[in-house]
């Protein structure tokens, strides 16, 4: 079958690989119809996530048709149309039973290595490095889905792929980013990053009753999406001082909650500050460029919530702990516990409360995946989200 493989830094290729087979009795094999390139795939593309190997199949946002199930999968049968959550979760450990699916205690077969870096191991993730399991991803014609009795959700025919595939990652991730803000009537939420997750966090914040939503980015076309599809107010950090603007807009209080939907490859309006962290990252003196996180902490109202859904992998530098501690801030973070949100969000889509497909800018066949990575990376052609059809 054809599959999109990581071939080294800034290099992906569509290659021929064997078709997957059942390895565990709770596996299913899915013939993929639509898959997407995620902003976090760009971190892999850029070589910022350790433990990638040449030939690893990428992709953790995918949906399709079940073609085979293992003997212990009783909720699915061949022919079912499903969307697959990106974290792999067993459903039976303590974490899964408390709804913390992205920290499933069993799904990372390389947990020993992850433990050495992170203290404890998070869940395995499709196509997201050997540190997180060494699972083949879904930017391919077929994928093996472990714990198919827990993760995949059946999608009714009336919900098109463009909407349903968003349930694999970006919609639940954005939604969780907003949910962690603990939004109360009158609350103001600021969101760093107008990529798919930031935009869907903004849409979710509105859905959860935020009074005003600010979105911060530097690409006018992405900020336009935030204004036009979400009704958010926007700040372009290239021409505006973000802290001043947020203070101004909230009459000095600061936003009640701040969402970091940027993660480890942030940009900074000040060239000197950007160069400082970029240089440290290049020599691995730090692994992240946490501009958004730093600014979110400084901007947040005292006693407010900083919600982190942007992806980080290692160590940050110059973390404003003084501000964080002295101003009684709360930080919530996590890879999204997608399995917790898929069904309720599918229902919201069906009721027309949210249509996540507004973020899609490009559709192309699987064989063009390398082109998709390139234009998404370079933000060419107003690229906000690339879907690959199989």
């Amino acid at each position: 079958m054809k599959a999109t493989a990581w071939m080294g830094k800034d290099k992906v290729k569509v290659i021929d690989v064997p078709e997957p087979s059942i390895m565990n009795p709770r596996d299913a094999i899915v013939r993929i119809t639509t898959t997407a390139i995620c902003g976090s795939d760009l971190h892999l593309y850029h070589g910022y996530i350790p433990a990638m190997r040449k030939g690893d199949i990428l992709g953790h946002e995918f949906m399709g048709e079940v073609v085979e199930v293992g003997p212990q999968v009783r909720n699915l049968r061949p022919g079912d149309r499903v969307v697959v959550p990106f974290p792999i979760a067993c459903g039976h450990c303590n974490s899964c039973q408390r709804g913390l699916f992205s920290v499933c205690e069993n799904s990372n077969p390389n947990a020993g290595v992850a433990e050495k870096i992170m203290g404890h191991s998070p869940a395995g993730i499709f196509g997201y490095s050997h540190l997180l399991g060494g699972y083949a991803g879904g930017q391919a014609e077929y994928a093996r889905v472990p714990f198919a009795d827990v993760g995949p959700v059946k999608v009714p025919d009336e919900v098109p792929d463009d909407q349903a595939v968003m349930l694999a990652d970006v919609l639940p991730t954005g939604y969780m980013g907003a949910e962690m803000c603990d939004i109360k009537p009158g609350h103001v939420v600021a969101i760093w990053g107008a990529g798919p997750v930031g935009l869907l966090a903004a849409a979710s914040a509105r859905l959860l009753g935020a009074e005003r939503v600010f979105v911060i980015d530097r690409y006018p076309y992405r900020l336009r999406l935030a204004r036009e599809h979400v009704g958010a107010e926007t700040i372009n950090y290239e021409d505006t001082d973000v802290l001043d603007a947020l203070n101004e807009l909230t009459a000095g209080r600061g936003p009640d909650a701040c969402v970091d939907a940027v993660g480890l490859e942030g940009h900074h309006g000040n060239a000197a500050i950007y160069a400082y962290d970029r240089a440290k990252q290049a020599v691995r003196a730090e692994t992240e460029r946490p501009f958004a996180l730093r600014q979110a902490i400084l901007a947040c109202r005292s006693g407010g919530v900083v919600s982190v859904v942007g992806a980080y992998g290692g160590m940050v530098d110059k973390f404003p702990m003084g501000a964080f501690m002295n101003r009684s801030l709360i930080m919530r973070a996590g890879q999204c516990h997608v399995q917790r949100y898929t069904r309720p969000l599918l229902e919201r889509i069906q009721r027309g409360e949210i249509d996540p497909s507004f973020i899609v800018s490009h559709r192309m066949p699987l064989k063009d995946a390398p082109k998709g990575y390139k234009i998404f990376q370079k933000k060419q052609d107003e690229c906000s989200k690339v879907l690959l059809s199989v």
């Binding site: 599959a3 493989a5 690989v17 064997p18 078709e19 997957p20 087979s21 390895m23 565990n24 009795p25 709770r26 433990a51 190997r53 040449k54 030939g55 690893d56 199949i57 212990q72 067993c90 039976h92 450990c93 303590n94 039973q97 205690e105 069993n106 799904s107 990372n108 077969p109 390389n110 947990a111 020993g112 290595v113 395995g124 196509g127 050997h130 399991g133 060494g134 699972y135 083949a136 991803g137 093996r144 472990p146 714990f147």
Partner: protein
């Protein structure tokens, strides 16, 4: 209760020696030393050196030295260093006897010779004890102990039941190929050895507390004496069971020992940690969790030698 009980594993605590001998020699030293200090005159007559004023000062000195050996051996529980100090003392004594024998004639010469023979006998015992204590010390140095725990979201009864069926052990103890239960207590274990060879031994369950704890040990004759205990304790907050494992094994010295050490990996702790993770996976999810990069599931070796994350070629599938 942090260690494997001493009773459980006499051969692990002291795989090669009889701990009685060095200690007995220690008490003998104390008795001889006390005698030499308190009854110098009678001892000098008994050994046939009562004619020498030099001997009257030497005997209490030798006695004091003996008290030193004795205290050291008894208090240290028979440490190798103290056992060798006795051998050194014996050498001095034998030299003194040889000189005393050369200087004397008649009855005194006979008595000196007799005493010398006794000292030579004791020297032989001291040598045996010292060599034994040294071997035991080295074996203890090679012995590997691992003490780890994992929390499993199952009841203590479920976890106990799975472990108690020893034929399940190879499903999560990755170095084992098979375990056959011979009866309720005894079993035969086969481990994967280097170069496709196998290491086999018999083991017995020595303590079995249903739903709480199981202890086992290899029977005498095992190439690698080993023992273990697993406890099943309810985890606080209704989170299943804390499964706490203590393992000890004493690889032999030499080439076999190195092969065994390799078998257990560079980091035995990591291997046991992975084994416990497999136990957790099997109990919680029904199987060992596999990925394309780690098709055989969790293991230190596999983490280092990852396959690319793409489906296995048909020929490599299980």
């Amino acid at each position: 209760m942090n260690r494997i009980d001493g009773v459980l594993l006499p051969e692990l605590e002291d795989p090669t020696r009889d701990p009685l001998l060095p200690r007995a020699l220690g008490w003998l030293s104390l008795a001889l030393g006390a005698g030499a200090v308190a009854a110098t005159g009678p001892l000098a007559r008994l050994t046939g050196v009562d004619d020498s004023p030099q001997a009257r000062t030497l005997i209490p000195a030798v006695g004091a030295r003996e008290l030193g050996h004795g205290l050291g051996l008894v208090l240290s529980g028979g440490r190798a260093g103290w056992a060798w100090s006795r051998v050194a003392g014996d050498a001095v004594d034998l030299t003194l006897h040889a000189r005393a024998w050369a200087d004397r004639i008649g009855e005194r010469r006979r008595r000196v010779a007799l005493t010398g023979a006794v000292v030579a006998g004791i020297t032989a015992l001291d040598l045996i004890a010292a060599v034994g204590a040294t071997r035991a010390h080295r074996a203890r140095g090679r012995m590997i102990r691992v003490d780890l725990g994992v929390t499993v979201n199952r009841t203590p009864a479920e976890a106990y039941r799975y472990w108690r069926d020893v034929e399940n052990l190879p499903r999560f103890l990755s170095h084992l190929e098979a375990v056959r239960a011979d009866d309720l207590r005894r079993s035969h274990w086969i481990a994967r050895g280097p170069a496709g060879r196998h290491i086999e031994w018999d083991a017995e369950i020595v303590d079995d507390q249903p739903n709480r704890s199981i202890a086992w040990r290899s029977l005498p004759g095992a190439r690698v004496p080993n023992a273990g205990r697993v406890r099943f304790v309810p985890a606080p907050g209704d989170r299943g069971t804390e499964v706490r494992v203590q393992l000890g094994y004493a690889p032999p010295g030499g080439a076999v020992g190195r092969a065994v050490a390799k078998l257990f990996g560079e980091e035995p702790e990591q291997q046991v940690r992975d084994d416990l993770r497999r136990f957790k996976q099997v109990l919680e999810t029904g199987d060992v969790v596999r990925s394309e990069g780690s098709p055989d599931g969790i293991s230190v070796r596999q983490q280092v030698m990852q396959r690319p994350a793409q489906p296995l070629p048909a020929g490599l599938r299980r």
